[in-house]
């Protein structure tokens, strides 16, 4: 019978007409966001960073700017470089997360926000050192950080992640908590047979 398909289709639309809406009112209500979400404000821990610039090297767009200088502290004893600048230009960032993936010391994390509108392009350049000095709240995403997923950390909960909990292994870095390393005993332990020279 001609028109039966249309009647069947209209029944579907009628059913959908009376069900609850599938959409939400965005600025007031938020869709649930998973903890792995790769978002805008990168969480960076100066305590864990050595200034190796792996993130800058592997960034496909080259938008991470790092300046280091030899720190006045004891380089031969394993102290790291002093960071002069750590800027991320998220105006050109595509949030692929490669910088986070290659960070060998778990110093850089993805964020969880996505509303990155600003009034000027300069405001989109994240000065991570300034954020660190101001003690900005760090809520890193758990993307590529299984240790945070093991802790069941939720970035949007608002609780801050401390730098000594964020790492994949026990790690003590500059500038505050660095222990003195006994280089001589370390050398004797690891290079026993090659010893004398």
């Amino acid at each position: 019978m001609y028109g039966l398909g249309i009647v069947k289709g209209l029944l579907v639309t009628l059913k959908n007409f009376v069900r609850k809406p599938a959409t939400i009112n965005y600025p007031e209500q938020r869709a649930p966001q998973h903890s792995r979400f790769r978002g805008e404000e990168f969480a960076w821990y100066e305590e864990r960073c050595t200034g190796c610039a792996s993130c800058a090297k592997f960034c496909p767009l080259g938008i991470i700017h790092i300046e280091t200088s030899p720190s006045e502290a004891n380089i031969p004893e394993g102290d790291s470089y002093k960071l002069e600048a750590f800027d991320i230009d998220i105006a050109r960032c595509m949030f692929c997360g490669f910088c986070v993936e290659v960070c060998p010391y778990d110093a850089l994390f993805m964020g969880s926000g996505f509303e990155e509108a600003q009034y000027s392009r300069q405001d989109l350049v994240l000065d991570k050192i300034k954020d660190q000095r101001e003690g900005k709240n760090k809520s890193p995403s758990t993307w590529f950080r299984p240790q945070l997923e093991a802790q069941k950390y939720i970035p949007l909960s608002g609780t801050e992640m401390k730098w000594d909990d964020a790492g994949r292994e026990e790690w003590t870095y500059h500038p505050t908590k660095r222990p003195k390393r006994d280089l001589l005993s370390w050398r004797n332990k690891n290079f026993k047979n090659k010893g004398e020279n």
Binding site: G5, A22, H34, F58
Partner: protein
């Protein structure tokens, strides 16, 4: 005396061209008598950019080619990289890739179906039904890899990380709901007299025409030719799952729509079998981030939702590909536009463009 023909620019800024696609059409009244497609408005030079990036960084470029199914693009690229390096990813990684690629296929076909109906004039209702389910898939992708569209999920030698615990229950509930929703679409659309009268017999092509133009994907299968790389040249774990390759008969717009709906059902069955078969294990080989394959060449191909997607890579032993050539199914599927559209009315042309389900990000690259 002949009446004068009129030449019209259809696009590039037209909602029915699905992107920035321009058609210079010659009209005799309302009938299309000549047609000349113009591409390149979305050209970003991905192939050239790939020569300046390392092998891993190119994965982010592939996300942006066919942005409706980024998983299959990732898969095609990493498969060709793995062929180049002669490594095989762990079995669990292969299962995860197949599951995510099939989810991507469902998402892409939902867009294809929804916009086809939208172009038919059923203003936005079926499209919104399709997008409601696509949203569920995007949420699954967000759980899996932290992004919704530009996924960057796969790596050379596996996937970037194992799944979170809450992924599997969410996937199960999606699979259960999706069967019901597919029935819903079919009762809404399949057999609807308006859809039938607008699409049956319109812009039909024969198998020979399609093969001569090297058309692949649902458009080739709608002509009745059984060609699917997942069965013809099985990659990953497609030889461990059972599924049918749905084909049409006439190669017209209606058959393309039907093939897509049937393929979504097959994809659901593939995902279910994969969920049953998958076992815990490693998901990534211990390859460095900066890979350096030996010099050589490789061609990896997958059955993307649009057709055969291939990446031809040449390596000269350095950290970046010497050449990265893409075989974009969307572009090659557009080669029969003249045979499909000339002779039909303008309204049918729009439906045909919708049923071809091309993606300008992939056509122009």
């Amino acid at each position: 005396m002949n009446s004068e023909l009129m030449t019209v620019n259809f696009g590039p800024q037209h909602p029915s061209t699905h992107g920035v696609f321009r058609l210079r059409i010659t009209l005799d009244g309302e009938t299309v008598v000549g047609l000349e497609p113009v591409f390149g408005y979305l050209h970003r030079g991905s192939e050239k950019l790939a020569e300046e990036r390392t092998f891993t960084q190119v994965i982010t470029l592939t996300d942006r080619m066919d942005y409706t199914s980024a998983m299959t693009n990732n898969q095609a690229y990493v498969l060709s990289c793995e062929k180049l390096m002669e490594v095989t990813p762990p079995v669990r990684a292969q299962y995860l890739r197949v599951i995510s690629a099939e989810l991507s296929r469902i998402a892409s076909h939902l867009i294809g179906t929804g916009f086809l109906i939208n172009d038919l004039g059923a203003f936005i209702t079926p499209l919104m039904y399709c997008f409601r389910e696509r949203e569920r898939i995007l949420e699954l992708f967000e759980m899996l890899c932290g992004a919704r569209i530009t996924l960057t999920y796969m790596r050379v030698g596996g996937v970037f990380q194992d799944t979170p615990a809450e992924f599997w229950p969410a996937l199960d509930s999606f699979l259960t709901d999706m069967e019901f929703h597919l029935d819903e679409y079919e009762s809404l659309l399949t057999g609807n007299e308006i859809l039938l009268s607008r699409t049956v017999g319109v812009s039909s092509i024969t198998t020979d025409q399609a093969l001569n133009a090297s058309i692949t994907g649902p458009i080739l299968r709608a002509t009745g030719f059984d060609w699917d790389l997942r069965t013809v040249d099985p990659y990953e774990v497609y030889n461990r799952v059972n599924f049918e390759v749905p084909t049409g008969e006439n190669g017209d717009n209606y058959d393309r729509y039907l093939v897509r709906i049937k393929e979504m059902r097959q994809s659901l069955s593939i995902i279910k079998q994969c969920v049953e078969q998958i076992e815990p294990g490693k998901v990534r080989l211990d390859l460095p981030f900066l890979i350096r394959p030996d010099s050589g060449e490789a061609y990896g191909r997958v059955e993307s939702p649009k057709g055969e997607l291939g990446f031809y890579l040449i390596s000269d032993g350095s950290i970046s590909p010497y050449r990265c050539k893409v075989r974009p199914p969307s572009l090659i599927n557009l080669t029969l536009l003249n045979e499909m559209i000339v002779g039909w009315k303008v309204a049918d042309m729009i439906v045909t463009l919708g049923s071809l389900d091309f993606n300008m990000g992939e056509v122009d690259r």
